[in-house]
């Protein structure tokens, strides 16, 4: 990874909250990597891209590393409230022990759960999605976006349900794309009417019920209708679903599915 960017900042030293605490320090913000971002091969790349941007923008952050555990979102959406709350309380204990106040995550499911479902259980943090942090950095002038390789490219953006409808975050990712001087093209179902990728509600972890089509294929078709050259996602699960969809349509070579963080990192040549 670092070898291909030999002259770039060393990005692979990722501070952990524990190590910082041992040194008597506290990060401004904790990066909640999430299970997909930690273990899924495709999503790991998103994590790395985001870390590169954080490092470049000099953000004081840290990850929990092995002290992080599933937020419990897929358990709750499957109906296992017990397992969800076990996970939640364990995570809250860890976060509270480190006196964490701000959390950023690249996964809308973690984002939603931490932000909306943890407070009642004793976990009160300011939780933001990585596209929101990137937008903040942009406003603060810490992140300077130039089109780079994305200048003039047609990009369509897929709204993750748990970012869009669930939490009304529609504009942050779009602002970022527009700042790259890319041409944002909308799908026929977008924003509050955005069509699901098919992964939510724990569908990611099971076979779909009997039907006449897979949801990710339907959504991929809508994306292809826009004639976009790049499909932008903001969720590791949407990313997987759409990547599979594009593969199914045999368009992998022409139309990449990328997270907003990856697009920005690439445009910055990080």
């Amino acid at each position: 990874m670092t070898t291909e960017n030999h002259n770039k900042i060393k990005i692979m030293e990722v501070p952990t909250v524990a190590a910082m605490a041992a040194a008597g320090k506290k990060p401004d913000i904790v990066f909640w990597v999430g299970c997909a971002g930690s273990f899924d091969e495709r999503a790991k790349k998103i994590t790395k891209a985001f870390i590169k941007i954080l490092t470049q923008c000099d953000v004081s952050y840290a990850v929990l590393g092995t002290e992080e555990s599933c937020t419990g979102d897929p358990a709750k959406r499957s109906g296992n409230e017990f397992l969800f709350q076990m996970q939640a309380l364990t995570n809250i204990q860890v976060l509270n022990a480190y006196e964490v106040t701000r959390i950023v995550t690249a996964c809308p499911h973690c984002f939603n759960t931490l932000k909306n479902e943890y407070p009642e259980l004793g976990g009160n943090f300011e939780v933001i999605h990585h596209t929101q942090l990137l937008e903040q950095l942009l406003v603060q002038g810490k992140l300077v976006l130039q089109g780079g390789s994305y200048k003039g490219k047609k990009i369509t953006y897929h709204d993750p349900c748990y970012l869009g409808r669930a939490n009304q975050v529609y504009e942050a990712p779009r602002t970022l794309i527009k700042k790259l001087d890319a041409a944002l093209v909308e799908m026929k179902n977008c924003k509050s009417k955005g069509l699901c990728c098919g992964a939510g509600g724990a569908q990611m972890f099971k076979e779909p019920e009997k039907g006449n089509k897979d949801i990710n294929i339907l959504r991929t078709e809508e994306a292809l209708e826009t004639k976009a050259e790049v499909i932008a996602a903001a969720c590791p699960f949407c990313n997987t679903m759409l990547t599979d969809g594009i593969k199914n349509k045999e368009k992998s070579a022409e139309i990449p599915v990328k997270d907003i963080a990856e697009i920005i990192a690439e445009a910055q040549d990080l």
Binding site: T16, S38, F39, G65, G79, E81, Q85, C161, A166
Partner: protein
């Protein structure tokens, strides 16, 4: 003898209202069979929500064509109801156009406005009918609409066509009589629409025309009272319940699913090293308590109010990714099933006169199948689409909770996922110690 019509009218009116209130009470009772949920907070936010969504129809116009058409009928309906006040007073007091002398010139304006509204409603309703039956818009023809729901939707439209036609016919006959200077027909009102019907009555003698005018008048008011009482049996109930339903709707972000407080208690106990495992359970650990929902009485009262409010418009289903890809799940059906089961439970309770609802049936299994429930992606498209703020997703999630926590009946793949979370803190079988390994390669 001359008081007979007034008495008859009074009896009819009282009878219709009593019958209607009786049925409304049934609904109230059924809704209160639901579990407690507190929606007494944020009053001003709630009023605003109601004003915006129910009164202001803000979510209706997200589909501009249907939305604007609906507003024509809705506004027309509201305004023409002002005329109803006069009709009722006339009926009770034996007067004719009682407001005319009081309102003078303004009365003419009002009657003219009502006529325009009546025409607007009439034409719109015909468009609605064509959308259902000529254009056959898909969402009106899904499986759950077969039978009564389809009939119901059309019947409402026929009702409205007949009522508006009677209103105009009544005015036309009245106007014709005014022109002839018939006794008892004061010259009042302006009839921009019905005046075109007057020539139809040319050959009818004045006494016969008077009978005809009375007939239209009576049919119109009887029709309205009939329609009022039809509401209880119909999705048209939404014209009333949309208001409380939007008032009591969930105001939290849509992604925020309720945390089950019973579970919180248990989990806290488990994680607390000082907890006394033999401590007496709290009072609310009633013996018949179950996690999640298997029947309507396990749902909360707002979910039950939702079920009665559903207009069966199918906007939810037409946005549902599962339904769009041919899965059995239809959020509209979830709401219709909930309402039908609740009505059944209510009737059973009334008949058996016992507080138990053991009729050998329940919502889960007899109405809604696990296959439907497991097809949901929890995407909230249905909730977002609903013009009256109904939340089918919360019912789906409560029923999943029952399936998993009471019956351990999750699909095998989900059980795997959950045991992974339990064992290694991730939905996949990775060692938690490797969490930072993304860092290397």
């Amino acid at each position: 003898m001359s008081y007979l019509p007034n008495v008859l009218f009074g009896l009819l009116l009282v009878g219709a209202i009593v019958f209607f209130i009786k049925n409304l009470n049934r609904i109230r009772k059924n809704i209160l069979l639901g579990r407690h949920i507190d929606r007494s907070d944020q009053k001003s936010e709630r009023w605003k929500n109601m004003a915006r969504i129910a009164l202001g129809q803000s979510k209706m116009v997200r589909r501009p064509i249907a939305g604007i058409l609906h507003i024509i009928v809705y506004v027309g309906f509201l305004f023409i109801n002002i005329e109803l006040l006069e009709i009722v007073l006339d009926g009770l007091l034996g007067t004719h156009r009682i407001f005319a002398p009081v309102l003078g010139g303004f009365y003419d304006f009002l009657i003219a406005a009502f006529e325009w509204f009546a025409l607007g409603v009439l034409l719109t309703v015909i468009v609605f009918w064509s959308r259902r039956n000529v254009l056959r818009i898909q969402r009106f023809w899904k499986a759950e609409m077969n039978g009564w729901p389809k009939w119901d939707a059309d019947l409402i439209l026929y009702f409205e066509i007949v009522l508006m036609t009677l209103f105009l016919a009544m005015n036309a006959a009245d106007y014709a009589l005014q022109l002839r200077g018939a006794a008892d027909y004061i010259v009042a009102g302006s009839f921009p629409i019905s005046k075109f019907l007057v020539p139809l009555f040319e050959t009818i003698t004045t006494p016969n025309l008077m009978v005809l005018e009375r007939t239209f008048w009576w049919m119109h008011i009887v029709g309205i009272l009939g329609f009022l009482n039809y509401l209880y049996y119909s999705k048209h109930l939404h014209i009333l319940l949309a208001f409380p339903n939007t008032y009591f709707a969930n105001l939290k972000p849509k992604g925020s699913f309720a945390n089950n407080p019973m579970v919180s208690k248990e989990v806290k106990l488990m994680l607390d090293p000082n907890a006394d495992p033999y401590a007496a359970p709290a009072d609310d650990t009633a013996t018949d308590f179950k996690f999640g929902a298997a029947d309507v009485t396990d749902l909360n009262w707002v979910q039950l109010l939702n079920a009665y409010t559903c207009t069966e418009c199918g906007r939810c289903t037409s946005q549902c990714p599962a339904n769009l890809t041919g899965k059995k799940l239809s959020p509209r059906k979830i709401m219709m099933d909930t309402r039908d089961r609740l009505t059944e439970v209510g009737m059973h309770l009334e008949k058996s006169k016992s507080p138990s609802i053991n009729d050998g049936k329940q919502l889960l299994g007899d109405y809604i199948t696990p296959e439907e429930l497991w097809a949901c992606t929890s995407c909230n498209a249905c909730v977002e689409a609903c013009p009256v703020d109904i939340d089918p997703l919360s019912i789906i999630m409560d029923m999943r909770q029952y399936l998993v926590m009471e019956q351990s009946a999750a699909p095998a793949a989900l059980n795997n996922m959950m045991s992974n979370i339990e064992n290694n803190g991730a939905p996949w079988p990775f060692n938690n110690q490797d969490r930072l390994k993304w860092n290397q390669n």
